[in-house]
């Protein structure tokens, strides 16, 4: 099974055999977005078109398979950036028709959960993914909390960001601190010697009144504004901005709210399992805090290898393979890219 992923700024092509990972090749257009401080959709879409063919070639070569030996072709049909998704969808359909193979259009977010079932040849056995599980998927493009009862046909959205994605908040705060893009690793570095309790930045949607309607939703735009206001006040007064403390306090606010809500979902729903996915998992503080809180709450924590946490094609192929094994047929060749594909639709 071959999977193509083009929902944001990474062009990913993965090849899997069931749950065995044969190739996971990713080309990123991150550098091209750097001077804009965030992903520019048109630049991402242009980069996907240029990267697709080389990435496809490299994946086939790595896996040591012939394209004609594939059983099916899978693609991310949403959610994501519309123009970017369309490049992958057009390519995947063409590949399926040219090779006379079935076509599977898969949900990106469910793909992040599916990344967990993949095994790299020779890597230690991590044991099977147990279900149901709560999944926290955090990147520059999405911040979602899911309840996954089945990877193939039962995924529920518990909550998501109502404004910026967490990764986007890292980028924006990095920018206002004068740090380059992408913000995640920069903030991490700047925060290393900082005091995470130095400044009490707001935790979005955690007040009792917010918890009624938005128990599992996230909001990072207020946090970003609070950091901006704090920095402006210091600069206006001619004071030096304590970069390390601001970065550490901001990072703590993000990690706190992400993990608190994820653990709350596990506890509320009586699901003692939490899975993390998405590029923000690369953030050490998010992982550490999740591990501490999971342990305290008696929740077992699963984190796929980092190379499979960021957007990739292998996770898309993995979900399609699961769908086939569960007896589902291919998608219609007429399905389009859906930038807001709901998580309940595992396969379009």
């Amino acid at each position: 099974m071959l999977g193509i992923e083009t929902s944001c700024d990474e062009t990913g092509v993965g090849i899997v055999r069931g749950t065995e990972l044969l190739a996971n090749v990713i080309a990123s257009s991150m550098d091209e977005h750097a001077r804009f401080g965030g992903v520019v959709p048109e630049i991402a879409a242009r980069a996907h078109l240029e990267a697709l063919e080389p990435t496809l070639r490299a994946a086939v070569e790595t896996a040591g398979v012939d394209l004609r030996d594939l059983d099916a072709v899978a693609v991310t049909s949403g959610p994501g950036l519309s123009g970017a998704l369309m490049v992958g969808v057009g390519a995947a359909k063409a590949l399926a028709v040219a090779l006379d193979k079935p076509f599977y259009a898969v949900n990106h977010l469910v793909g992040h959960v599916g990344a967990d079932i993949l095994r790299e040849p020779g890597s230690p056995d991590r044991g099977a993914l147990e279900l149901p599980t709560v999944a926290l998927l955090v990147s520059g493009g999405h911040t979602s909390l899911l309840l996954v009862r089945s990877l193939t046909d039962d995924v529920e959205l518990l909550g998501e960001t109502i404004d910026d994605a967490a990764g986007e908040a890292f980028d924006k705060v990095a920018r206002l601190l004068g740090l380059p893009y992408p913000g995640g690793p920069q903030i991490d570095r700047a925060a290393a010697d900082g005091d995470p309790t130095a400044i009490r930045f707001p935790r979005g949607l955690t007040l009792p009144k917010d918890l009624v309607a938005h128990r599992y939703d996230f909001s990072f735009s207020g946090l970003k504004t609070a950091v901006a206001r704090h920095v402006e006040r210091l600069r206006d007064a001619g004071d030096e901005v304590p970069m390390a403390d601001v970065a550490a306090s901001f990072r703590e606010a993000v990690a706190d709210v992400l993990t608190a809500k994820a653990i709350a979902a596990c506890t509320d729903l009586g699901v003692p399992r939490l899975l993390l996915g998405g590029g923000v998992v690369a953030n050490a503080r998010v992982r550490t805090l999740a591990a501490e809180r999971a342990e305290a709450a008696g929740v077992s924590l699963r984190i796929p290898p980092l190379s499979l946490c960021t957007d990739n094609g292998a996770m898309i192929a993995a979900i399609a393979a699961q769908r086939i094994m569960a007896g589902h047929g291919p998608s219609e060749l007429g399905v389009g890219a859906d930038s807001t594909l709901p998580v309940t639709v595992v396969q379009a």
Partner: protein
């Protein structure tokens, strides 16, 4: 057998024999649903011609100009088919397909312009000389504000809303016959990506 794909205006797919006979054609003028239509059109064209991908000898891609989001779908599809089947990809400016049909149909003489909509109140224009075996570009594709567009004296403007994929295949055959080089299979964007680089704004 050539498979031609153009998504610079609507979505168009055609299968054309080496001698130019049109074996199958699918097209829609819809300027939005390229990602949806490309799949069924490819499958239906192959089915109508009663062939599979293994019979293709060339893929022809229309490289625009045209609205980018749709244009990329066809080029991505064409590139991947060429890779999957191990056959050459021939890129043809979409306006050239129209120019060739106009010349062959005796509809033009001297110099003429092929015009397509470029959104944002602009048109994309290519000026050709009505010469065969293949049209000669006098002025490469460029954008002009629609209100300001006025072709030069003696240049007839032909605005079209669709690029027939069969005509695209014919243009590729004409280039092959004359040994003319093909352009790179990249979109004729004619416009830089739309981004504004603003400094972070004050919040207080």
């Amino acid at each position: 057998m050539l498979l031609a794909i153009d998504t610079s205006a609507g979505t168009a797919v055609a299968l054309v024999a080496d001698d130019g006979r049109v074996l199958a054609e699918r097209s829609s003028p819809d300027t939005r649903r390229h990602a949806e239509l490309i799949g069924p059109f490819l499958a239906e064209a192959l089915a109508a011609a009663e062939v599979d991908g293994a019979r293709l000898t060339h893929v022809v891609a229309g490289i625009g100009p045209g609205p980018f989001t749709g244009l990329r779908v066809g080029i991505a599809a064409a590139r991947v088919i060429a890779l999957a089947r191990g056959i050459p990809l021939l890129a043809v400016p979409s306006h050239e397909a129209v120019a060739l049909s106009l010349i062959e149909g005796g509809a033009v003489a001297g110099r003429f312009a092929v015009v397509t909509d470029a959104r944002r109140r602009e048109v994309a224009v290519t000026v050709f000389a009505a010469r065969l075996p293949m049209p000669v570009e006098v002025e490469p594709a460029h954008l002009v504000a629609r209100v300001a567009f006025a072709p030069a004296e003696g240049v007839a403007a032909h605005e079209v809303a669709e690029i027939p994929a069969a005509a695209l295949a014919h243009a590729a055959l004409a280039r092959l016959a004359t040994g003319a080089a093909f352009p790179e299979p990249r979109p004729l964007y004619l416009r830089a990506p739309d981004v504004t680089l603003s400094a972070p704004k004050r919040v207080s």
